[in-house]
């Protein structure tokens, strides 16, 4: 059931005190998280992932929780999503900061207040919000293309993809099972209220 192991990029007891050293380690962790997908050696400097500070990562995790309406999201998945979205965009950390600030100013503490807010009406901020929510819900970034061997997608998580949560009591995350043979013949318990 677990996701593939990645370097722990969020704070923890094992991390040293020295902030400069800590930053280097965090970057290495992010690199490791995405290394499976990218031949770093061949990448131009401008395309290398942004150096994420602990503050960047904390802010991004908080923003993810706020945008998805979830109280707790896994920091390792958040770090992986940050790395994927920041790829080729060294200003990504700054964009995240702008979005957080705009939401604060607009008073969008709860997503029920998002629709019609100043943030919703700003195409650039809205697009960024949607791209972050997309990563959390779909478990990948980029745009999948059919009938090809490569596209610009990156894997983030499978079982952690939030799109499965709203239907968790009825259907399965494909490849997993919920009950024995033929359980599907009976109406879901929620049918009267669905």
């Amino acid at each position: 059931m677990s996701n593939p192991p990645v370097a722990q990029a969020a704070g923890g007891d094992a991390l040293p005190e020295n902030p400069a050293r800590r930053r280097v380690l965090l970057s290495a962790g992010l690199m490791a998280a995405a290394a499976a997908l990218l031949p770093w050696a061949r990448m131009a400097y401008a395309d290398a992932p942004a150096q994420a500070s602990p503050a960047d990562l904390d802010a991004f995790l908080g923003l993810g929780e706020r945008l998805t309406g979830r109280a707790h999201l896994p920091p390792d998945i958040s770090a992986r999503l940050f790395a994927a979205l920041a790829q080729g965009n060294r200003a990504f950390g700054a964009s995240v900061t702008r979005l957080v600030r705009a939401m604060d100013i607009a008073g969008v503490d709860d997503m029920r207040a998002f629709k019609g807010s100043a943030v919703d009406r700003n195409p650039e901020l809205k697009a960024l919000a949607v791209s972050i929510v997309s990563g959390w819900y779909l478990g990948y970034t980029g745009t999948p293309e059919g009938l090809v061997v490569k596209d610009d997608t990156q894997f983030i998580t499978y079982t952690g993809a939030l799109m499965f949560e709203p239907t968790r009591d009825v259907t399965v995350i494909p490849t997993y099972a919920r009950a024995g043979t033929d359980h599907w013949a009976v109406a879901p318990a929620s049918i009267a209220t669905d």
Binding site: P144, V149, T175, P188, D194
Partner: protein, 528 residues
């Protein structure tokens, strides 16, 4: 003087068809060598590849695509020159492409096999249903088919049809709640919803556990309840067959009396091996088989090798209905509407089959909502609302054989120096006329379910049912193999591929391919 051979029979291709033929031959004590271009990959590895893939709708993605064993989604490997991007999901590994299928195991109808005689279009099969029936039964037992033998599978609401000598090996899976509701609403409108016989076992069978609805038949069944060709590759090995992986056949060698005397294969390191045998069975997929024949200049006195390529090229309908049906509980598909499977209309337009998908629709639904900019609580609410009401109809049509729909070796070479594939494929008028009928059905479905249409202009879609490319017939002048799947030109060369199918009907061809392959083994067993 006695000749010595490397084997009694060499079978090229370890998919469902080749492996079943190899098993039936080895079981009778024949020495069999089974060649496979790809590698042997365990199920758990494919499963992990799927779970960590960012392309979950891409059914080839969890499988290897090697420079010496390309899959079909490699645009380099399969070049299209026609109006349609003909690109079936072909795999190269032990077990072949039945690793990712939905395991639909229909039999053809007697009338499907007399298309020309009854309806004046296409071609007749050179053999009839009664000849094939015992082999259908054996194929169903080999694959562990669960089915309902009491329904009229011709879709006319009549008696049980086609005729069966024995019941299905396994009872059908229970009807999903969704399908119970669908039937309630479709039946009064005259639509005959038929249970789909399938290769997913409903109780432990042949070392396989019963299906419990992991809902991932495509691209990989995580538990092996669904049949895949590797099961018979293993059975063949246990019966004494020798399986050689990473071995791409590139030449069939002709000898005296128009016999095939050897097959040449190449390993990824570039080394070449020549194998001799009394008989050769090419079971190398509906595109690769004709390619091998054309490269070897064998079996083509009719000039039909690679021609008459057919798929059940289809269209799709997506809609959101007015009541919670909850697709996604059980296997990925369970049945369909067969009203247009057979009748006099086949003189004018193709037969039509509609299937209702039962795949968990969350990804498609979520992608759509996000594209509309829906985030926040409305996103969770929308996912649940739409997932409960999602109706995904996949439609297929019967293509007719046409000499210009064709697969040939390409000018490009793979890492082994072997030509890649080139396909030229256009959809015919017979299918286009069928589409008009299907669209009228779509309008009726939308009305019956008071549905909001999500997509009803999908354009032509691949259905991955490859037929016709080494077409079967009684006349050596216009066909490649006879009714026994023996090539007209070479007595000891048989083709075990759905590519032999001369009239495609609207049903998934794999079960028929396996039945024909078992019959090939019987023929060879009698002659050796």
């Amino acid at each position: 003087m006695t000749t010595s051979y490397d084997a009694d029979v060499v079978v090229i291709g370890s998919g469902a068809l080749g492996s079943n033929a190899a098993y039936e031959l080895a079981k009778q004590g024949r020495s069999v060598i089974l060649l496979e271009a790809g590698s042997r990959i365990p199920r758990w590895k494919i499963l992990e590849n799927f779970r960590t893939s960012s392309r979950k709708a891409n059914f080839n993605d969890p499988y290897p695509n090697e420079p010496w064993a390309h899959t079909s989604y490699d645009p380099e490997y399969l070049e299209n020159t026609g109006s349609f991007n003909f690109r079936p999901g072909m795999l190269k590994l032990v077990g072949g492409t039945t690793w990712h299928w939905a395991a639909a195991c229909w039999r053809y109808l007697p009338n499907d096999m007399k298309l020309k005689t009854l309806y004046g279009v296409g071609r007749d099969w050179p053999i009839d249903y009664d000849t094939l029936e015992p082999y259908y039964q054996r194929a169903e037992e080999a694959l562990g088919v669960a089915g309902n033998g009491d329904e009229d599978q011709s879709g006319q609401g009549g008696k049980a049809w086609p005729p069966r000598s024995q019941p299905y090996p396994l009872p059908p899976d229970a009807t999903t709640y969704m399908n119970q509701q669908l039937v309630k609403r479709l039946a009064p409108e005259g639509f005959h919803y038929i249970h789909e016989p399938n290769g997913r076992v409903t109780r432990p069978y042949d070392g396989r556990p019963a299906c419990c609805g992991n809902n991932n038949c495509m691209p990989v069944c995580p538990i092996g309840a669904m049949y895949s060709g590797d099961m018979h590759a293993t059975h063949a090995e246990n019966a004494g067959a020798k399986l050689i992986t990473e071995a791409t056949a590139y030449k069939l060698e002709k000898g005296a009396g128009n016999k095939i005397v050897a097959v040449h294969y190449r390993k990824p390191d570039g080394s070449d091996v020549r194998l001799t045998a009394r008989y050769f069975v090419v079971a190398a997929h509906g595109l690769e088989t004709p390619k091998l024949l054309l490269m070897s200049d064998v079996a083509n006195s009719s000039d039909q090798v690679g021609r008459n390529l057919m798929d059940h090229t289809g269209i799709g309908l997506l809609m959101i209905g007015d009541e919670p049906l909850w697709p996604g509980r059980g296997a990925v598909q369970q049945g369909g509407i067969f009203n247009w499977r057979d009748g006099d209309f086949r003189k004018q337009h193709s037969a039509v089959k509609h299937s209702m998908s039962n795949a968990v629709p969350n990804r498609t639904i979520t992608e759509r909502l996000l594209k509309q900019g829906v985030i926040g609580p409305e996103l969770d609410e929308g996912i649940r609302h739409d997932a409960a009401r999602w109706i995904d109809v996949g439609t297929v049509f019967e293509m007719l054989p046409s000499p210009t729909n064709r697969v040939t070796p390409s000018d490009k070479k793979d890492a082994l120096g072997i030509p890649m594939l080139r396909v030229n494929y256009d959809v015919d008028d017979y299918v286009k006329a069928g589409k008009e009928v299907a669209k009228k059905d779509y309008a009726r479905f939308a009305k019956i379910f008071n549905a909001q249409i999500v997509e009803d202009e999908s354009g032509w879609q691949n259905r991955d049912h490859i037929m016709g490319s080494v077409i079967m017939g009684s006349d050596p002048k216009d066909s490649v193999v006879n009714g026994d799947c023996r090539t007209h030109d070479h007595d000891n060369l048989f083709l075990a591929t759905t590519g032999v199918i001369p009239a495609s009907g609207v049903i998934n061809p794999t079960l028929t391919g396996v039945a024909l392959s078992i019959r090939i083994a019987d023929t060879i067993n009698k002659e050796i």
